[in-house]
Structure formats: C-alpha cells, structure tokens
Amino acid sequence: MMGLSHDMVVGIAKSFGLFYLIALSIGICLYAFWPRNRSRFNRAKYSILDDENGPLTGEEPR
C-alpha cells in the first residue's frame, strides 16, 4: 500500500464513501419499490410454498 497515505484513505472514506452508500440505498429502494417488480416478488414469495414435486421440465401448465 505504498503511496496511499492515512490522510488520503480518511479523505476517500469521508467523501466517496458517504455518497456511494447514499446512492446505493436509493438504488435499492428503487428496486424494491419499483411497481413492475411487484408481480415477480409476489410470485417468488408464494412459489416456495409448494416446490417439492421435482424440477420443472417446461411441460407444466403455467
């Protein structure tokens, strides 16, 4: 880690570190609440309740 001084690490953590966490949290909220994702999430949360009958083969009625 030559050339990467302590002050520089602190500087990066306090500037870039802050904004990337804010950007990340906004991005995740958008993904979680995006209206079009609602049906995918709903399907996923119900699909695990009945999944023991073996892999799907693509021949099942959807």
Binding site: N42, A44, K45, D51
Partner: protein
Amino acid sequence: MVAKLTFVERQIALLILGIITILGLVMASLGAGDALGVHGFIVLFAGLGLIFAVGGSLYAPEPIEDRSREYYDDPIKIGIVLAMIWAMIGMGVGDWVAWMLAFPDLRFDAAWSSFGRLRPVHTTGIIFGFGGNALIATSMHVMQRTSRARLAGQISPWFVLLGYNLFVILATTGYVMGVTQSKEYAEAEWYADIWLVVVWVVYFVLYIRTLARRNEPHIYVANWYYLAFILVVAMLHIVNNLAVPASFTAAKSYSLFSGVQDAMTQWWYGHNAVAFFLTAGFLGMLYYYLPKRAQRPIYSYRLSILSFWGIVFFYIWVGSHHLHYTALPHWVQTLGVTFSVMLLVPSWASAGNALMTLNGAWHKVRDDATLRFMFVAAVFYGLSTFEGSFMAIRPVNSLSHYTDWTVGHVHAGSMGWVALITFGAIYAAVPLIWRRDDMYSWRLVEWHFWLALAGTVIYIFAMWNSGIVQGLMWRTYNDVGTLQYSFMDTVVAMHPYYIARAIGGLLFLIGAVIGFYNILMTIRAARSEDRLLDHPTDSEACEPAVPVAE
C-alpha cells in the same frame, strides 16, 4: 449413493480421489516428523477410503431413470448427518472445556487437552463443522427448490461436501497437535486454507450454475443470503489467511500482516465471519424454512430485500469495534461503532419480518416444535443483534470487553439464533428429503426444543452475571486509589457461574444427541417404507417410472 452416478462419473470421481491420495502421500513424506506429515496420512487415508467406496461399485448398474426430473438429495442427506455429528463433537468439547474452567483438574495434564488447544476445536467444530455442513446441506436443498431445477453437477456437490469436511478434520486435528495461526476462527494453517479455497470456489460455481438453470423468473431472496455467505466468506478467508509458510515441509507460516494492520485484518475477518458465516447463510435458512413450515409466505418480500442490502453493506464495516481503546486510529473505531448501531435496523427488520410472518399462525407455533425452534431463533436473533449493537458502543465496551459478557453474547447468537434455526431447518428438511410425513418422534423434537431453550437461557444468564461481576470488579478502586480486587478474587467470584454455564451447555448437548437419534430413526423408518410423494422412482428402487429410452 454411487449407484446414481454413471460409469464415466464414477471414473472421474476416482481420478479426483487419486489426485487427492497422491497429494496426501506427498504431504506425508515431505512433512515427516511434523504435524504436516500426520495430516498427509489423514488425507491419504481419506482418499483411499473413498476410492474403495467408489471403486467397489464401479461396475454396478448405471442409473436408468431420467435424472434431470428429480432433485439431487443424496449429498444433502449426508450433509445433514455430518452436521449433527459435528454438533455433538463441537458441543461435547465445548462442555468439557466449560467444566474445565470450573474444575481445572479436568485438564488431565496432557498437552493436547489444554484449554488453548481444545477451545478452537470447540469453535471450529461448531462454526465450521456443525454450521458449515448445515449451510452447505440446506443451501443445496434451497437452491434446487427455489430454482425448480436439479443441482448442476453430479460430482461437484460431493466434492464440496466431503472436501469441506476434510478441511474441518485437518483444522481440528491440527489444533490438538498444537498447529495454529493464532488467528481466532482462522486458526487452520496454510495448506488447509489453500484446500478450503479450492473447495469454496467449486461451491460458488455449483451454486451459480444451479441458479443459471432455474425455472423461476426471480431468484428467491434466501439464495441471495446464501450467495452473500459464499462470496464474502471467500473474500475474508483469502485476505485474512495471506501468509508465508516458513517451509513447504512444515505446518508453520507467518502472516503477511503485522501489528495493528494484522489486528484490523483479523477482526475485519472475525466479525464478518459472524456476519456472513453465522448470519447471512442462516438468514437464508430462515427466509426459506420458516415460511415453508408455517405454510405462509414471508410477511414482506420488499423488506427482506431492503434488509439484505442493509446487512451486507453495514456489516462489512463493523469489525473495528473489536479493537476499542487500542492502537487502531480513533476514527476507525468510531466508524465501527456507527455502523454497528445502524446495523440494528436491517437486523430487526429481518427478525420482525419473521415474527410478522407467524402473526396469525400462533397456533402452529404452539403445536409444532419445529416451527417453534425457528420462532425462538428469530427472537434470539433480535435480542443478540440488539445486544451486539449496544456492546459496540465504546463506553459499554469498556465494561464488557475481555469479560464473560462477550462469551454470553456470542452464545446468545450461536446457541439461541444459529443453532436453533439450524435445528428447526433440519427438522423441517429431514421429512421432506427422506419422503416421510414427519419426524420419527414429535415428542423427541419437543424434548430437544425445551432442553435447547433451557440450556441457552441458563448459559447466557450465567455469563451475563459472570461478565458484569468480572467487569465491575476489575474497575473498582479503593480509597487509596489502587485496585480493590486481585485477579484471583474475580476468578473465585466467577466459579458458581461457570458451573451454571457448564450445566446449561450439558442440557444443550443432550438435546442435540436426542435430535441425532431422532434423525437416525427417521432415516431407518424411511428405508423400510415406500416413498410417500409421487416422484419418479430412482435406480435404487429398480423400477424406473420414466425410462430414458421412451
């Protein structure tokens, strides 16, 4: 088990085992006179034993059914049994050292049985042996079911499971011989670490390939948690174990880091081992087995996504709270405190999500000990994450650090949360995988539940008392301004709590033994009975339901 592999797959398995056996032989000859040599023989015999197991059925009939039409559950079955065996080993050694702390004569004066060598056997046996096998087994169950696809490989699941257990054996046998890197939860030496990297990469590739085969549009959130566990543990393990072997013919190595950098790297690893090994993967279990067992979908799927990213991105920064009041820069300590406190939000979101899922189904929690295991686990998850955030605050830490309070906190998490969710998941998975209606005996599940809960409560109350008494005695000054109590005074004060702790641990261990018996009897009953679900029968049943030729 070998009957489900084709002739070519059996040959590939023999080839891999042959390479491992030769590696063992090389280790045994080069490391003669050192612990490395003993480990060479362990690898050699493990390889030879499996060669006989596979080679013995090399020319047995090949599977005739269409394997892609059924889930691949054989590695899961072995994984669950191995997890329970490691649970008994880890808890047995743990309770032994607990009694040893109360009655030092139980050390028996041998080098191998000293506290310093047995304690990592306990922690590794529980975290990696019990926890790791349970994670691997349940992840293979969850990835297939949520993807509605078969595991992407015939040999790689076995390589992951058995290779991983070889690592745990090398680690624990090394400790009793005095082999250690002196890094907590990462004590295993360089050659075992390299082997774990190989196994782990295969595990990751297997998981990704199975997900790539999925027949569901969305990857269910439990898989995200398991994947975070696999990916981040790989990263942590590789960085923290960077070391230079003193010699390639001996076990000893020297870490690439030194001083405060070494301490920070170790606790970045150490706390994220808690986060990603002991939390993320087990939250994957919670998000799959709890809704499944309760037959209710998770309360809020969106909340599970938000808490996933919260946990992943907050946890990675908190390790520095293990190094308060040390040479570590003050701002790094403060960063650790801040993220530890913020972590309470996603942690409680997960615990709350689990409890809200059960809201309206409390009669099921009352009647079904399996679901109750998972319910109590969620409660302990909420309690221990609150306690953890609180203990990370610097002034609280000045009282709690280096005392038994820390030990109590860790066990509230490991017994109350990790072990209880695992037992719940195992009791939910065993009947599904062995195609039974239920476990052999629901009464024994009840016994296990109450023994485990009583053991956990006794354990953590004993350690809270002991830790706070110890912490207060250490900081009590007399009128002259010197310390009021000697170190021996604190040891005497802790004695009754140590006995209580050992009793709590014993109850927990007895519960695990009962659980193991119940699982074995369920397997026995399953073997003597026809399969209950309408599945294509396999080659072991000798009557293919869906012949490939048709």
